[in-house]
């Protein structure tokens, strides 16, 4: 089964990102393919490398980055949502004249078409949100 997963909320405030992560991990363990994880709305806040969660708490962002690396998953932050919320990679920093970047490893910024394409190419779309 080929899956696209959509995440609509940022880390910590809502459990959505946690549920999406554990679902993704379980799907991979069962041998399914994750075609894409698409972060929309505040979900783009999952992609900032500047978080420092408490020592005794999980690190939501680092967890995503590791998952992407281990399983070569395409993790996309919606560009329009990322611009509104201030998630920036090198290209965005240059285009929008920002003096810093904050995107975490394993993510990339791209358009909404990537979500639609996920819907077209996958067997299932599973949305996690508020």
């Amino acid at each position: 089964m080929k899956l696209t997963i959509q995440v609509n909320e940022g880390p910590y405030q809502h459990q959505s990102a946690d549920s999406a992560y554990f679902f993704a991990k379980a799907a991979l363990e069962k041998g399914h393919e994750i075609y894409r994880i698409f972060f929309y709305h505040d979900g783009v806040n999952n992609g900032t490398r500047l978080t420092t969660p408490p020592q005794d708490d999980r690190n939501v962002v680092a967890r995503w980055s590791e998952l992407a690396q281990e399983h070569d998953i395409d993790m996309v932050l919606c560009v329009a949502a990322a611009q509104r919320r201030g998630i920036v990679d090198d290209g965005e920093a240059e285009r929008n004249g920002k003096d810093a970047t904050n995107m975490a490893p394993g993510f990339r910024i791209s358009g909404l078409g990537q979500l639609i394409e996920g819907g077209v190419q996958s067997d299932r779309l599973v949305v996690f949100g508020d």
Partner: protein
């Protein structure tokens, strides 16, 4: 063409469980996750909405909230994340009632 319905909010906080349970078709499955698991507690008023629905509930979310399985409404099926994935497999599509 069966559908998996996801509800992640407490039925005492908002109307998602009410909408989901009233639009479900026979053959569909309802999966309660996150704060949605409160809807599966037998002694709670909201559990009446589950009548006639095939209901699964996330075990890890139940445990986090201190709900033991003996508190669940009759017929509610407890799953883990692997079981969640299987439900996504078995149903043709997923509707998240956000």
């Amino acid at each position: 063409m069966s559908m998996l319905h996801l509800v992640n909010k407490s039925p005492y906080e908002n109307g998602n469980l009410n909408t989901a349970s009233s639009i479900m078709k026979s053959g569909d499955v309802l999966l309660l996750i996150e704060d949605g698991v409160y809807g599966a507690v037998k002694s709670g008023k909201a559990s009446a909405m589950l009548e006639g629905c095939a209901v699964s509930v996330m075990g890890p979310d139940l445990a986090a909230r201190g709900i033991t399985e003996d508190k669940l409404a009759d017929g509610v099926n407890v799953v883990d994340y692997a079981g969640f994935v299987e439900l996504v497999e078995k149903n043709d599509k997923v509707q998240s009632w956000l």
